[in-house]
Amino acid sequence: MQIINTITPDYRSYLSKEEMAAIEHEASIMETREAAGIEALKVVQKHRGWISDDSLYAIAQMLNMSAAELEGVATFYNLIYRQKVGRYVIHICNSISCHLSGYQQVLQAIKAHLGIDYGQTTADGMFTLLSNACLGGCDKAPVMMIGERHYEYLTPEKAVEILEKIAAGASTENYLSSFLNEGDAAADRENKPRSRDYLDDDDVAGEISEMELSDD
């Protein structure tokens, strides 16, 4: 029963036209609307960096599913961020080939350089560090992924250098296009710089989920 009350914002005023169009497209190629849920989360995350509670409610409403169900989906998949992340999310591969090739040293160097541990974000909001199961670059181990780019044959020095470059380049408007693997137009469109405004909006409107999984 969809009775509109004051608690849930109307998705039509929350999601952007672009987001809605992309989500509608995904829904149109599936038999059910909720089948577009994962893609919808990715669409909104691409625009806003992460999925706030309000984003979650808006998508759920748009796809005619419950927020709880969408939360169940969002928290299952590791590439959906339900907490605020930095501008760049570092996924360092910790699987077997990288393990055999010494990713641990690379990881140590990154942690030391950024002063953060797994799951944390740097104070300037630039980087969040996460692990990732095998990135499929086992022949070029160790590997990490930042944004849509994979960095291969890492050494501690090389990893730090990459992070420094990204941090330095982030201030210049056009850095991101050179940061992509391929400079094609489609990729450019998908990777337009994330506006800080969105993130601020989310910051005000959405708290992170009440559910905490503590694991120590």
């Binding site: 994962i38 590439l79 077997i96 086992c138 022949d139 780019r149």
Partner: protein, 434 residues
């Protein structure tokens, strides 16, 4: 007619810049699909694939023809016919140590599209999805471009190449999780749900995506189809001297000289892959053991080097061919730490559905961590052995936990001394091995 290639899967691979549809057609592409759509009935294509004895390259090695044959076929106008059937390409390559599909996806996307046209035609599917793992961004861009080209050239869409055959092909990129590689979990993920594997029966061929008949095939498996169509079943069987037909993309990673992928006839030996192509171990390192087909296979030892890498021979040696990607353990890396890393992966990637996997894999991690840190006891080895039994085939909901058990069980067998040394010495004897 172009001479039949001996490396059909990878002969057109270009990782720098894959062929556009024009280039692909010029190089002989879409001829297999052309033949299927214009010259062969569905039954004839099915017979051809069955005759080729093509087996699934995703790890389980199930005969592709047999899988397709289960899909119910309906006469036109049959009231029981479902509104549609689906074909899904499993491009969720996430098995640690496996990166073969990536080569095909990034290097020759049109080959996969052509293959999917053939497969969809055969089983009567009019909608198909490529389920691509979320981290393969480059593959996603290249596939989408190829799909767009195929639509423009009427290799996809309505009335393909003037026939009455339709196929819509969509790219779906995942949001992570290894379990999505399990075909029924993949279907759940594609339906926008949590990717818990489904109970079988029903098999996807009867009730898969959205409850409709569905076939899920691996990228490499599918990629063989255009060539089988073009050159025939006998040619395909002739590619390999072995009982398993065709070629296989083998790979090697770990501390070997030239890690990478190589397409070789089915049944190439481990030695050929590791030494002739992988260049052998890095200087100063010795081979201690290897996983022949990804993280969820049993260890083999240097004594197994001459085992042909086909389904039966590897099984005979005590492991599984899996994905055919060697993960090589050298003598300076700790086998306990390697197994711990593998179990951490499986514990992390457990979907959380059934008890043995959800609670058994973290338990194994807890015990292995203590042993690796030198705080284990000999009782712990019994616990590990018990856990291996606890998570074995038939006791779990899907094959993830039994897959996790394979390297653990074989390591307990082959590297027992290493485990005991950890316990006796109270530390990892390999520390500082890097």
């Amino acid at each position: 007619m172009i001479k039949a290639p001996d490396k059909p899967l990878t002969s057109l691979v270009n990782l720098e810049q894959p062929l556009s549809i024009e280039g692909y057609i010029e190089a002989g592409g879409y001829q297999g699909a052309e033949k299927a759509l214009h010259h062969l009935s569905r039954a004839e294509v099915l017979t051809l694939v069955e005759d080729s004895t093509l087996k699934g390259r995703g790890g389980a090695g199930f005969p592709t023809g047999m899988k397709w044959k289960c899909v119910p076929m309906y006469e036109p106008g049959d009231v029981n016919a479902p509104e549609c059937k689906y074909l899904v390409c499993n491009a969720d390559e996430m098995e640690p140590g496996t990166f073969k599909d990536r080569v095909l996806l990034e290097g020759v996307p049109h080959q996969l599209i052509e293959a999917m046209i053939i497969a969809a035609y055969t089983i009567g599917a009019e909608k198909a999805y490529i389920f691509l793992r979320g981290e393969y961004h480059l593959a996603a861009r290249r596939l989408q471009q190829a799909i767009d080209e195929a639509y423009r050239s009427n290799w996809l869409g309505e009335n393909i190449q003037g026939t009455d055959i339709h196929l819509d092909l969509y790219l779906h990129s995942s949001a992570g999780r290894y379990i999505c590689g399990e075909e029924t979990a993949l279907i759940n993920a594609l339906e926008g749900k949590r990717a818990n594997p489904r109970a079988k029966p029903p098999f996807p061929q009867f009730s898969g995506l959205f409850g409709k008949p569905t076939v899920v095939n691996n990228v490499e498996t599918l990629s063989n189809l255009p060539h089988i169509l073009k050159h025939g079943a006998d040619w395909f069987k002739g590619l390999s001297p072995d009982s398993d037909a065709g070629t296989k993309i083998y790979a090697a990673c770990g501390r070997v000289k030239t890690p990478g992928t190589w397409e070789l006839p089915m049944g190439a030996t481990i030695r050929e892959v590791l030494y002739d192509h992988g260049g052998g171990m890095l200087d100063g390192l010795k081979l201690k053991g290897l996983l022949p087909g990804g993280a969820s296979t049993d260890f083999l030892l240097p004594e197994h080097l001459d085992t042909p890498m086909d389904f039966a021979s590897i099984a005979k040696a005590g492991s599984r061919l899996g994905t055919g990607g060697l993960i090589v353990l050298d003598d300076h890396n700790c086998p306990v730490s390697m197994v711990l890393n593998l179990l951490q992966f499986f514990a992390q990637e457990s979907c959380g559905w059934c008890t043995p996997c959800r609670d058994g894999t973290p338990w194994a991690v807890e015990v292995l961590s203590r042993i690796e840190q030198g705080q284990g006891s000999l009782d712990d080895l019994d616990t590990l052995a018990k856990l291996c039994d606890f998570m074995w085939l038939g006791k779990t909901h899907c094959a993830l936990a039994p897959g996790a058990v394979e390297p653990l069980k074989s390591a307990l067998k082959y590297f027992h001394d290493d485990f005991e040394q950890h316990i006796e010495q109270g530390c990892c004897p390999y520390q500082g091995g890097h």
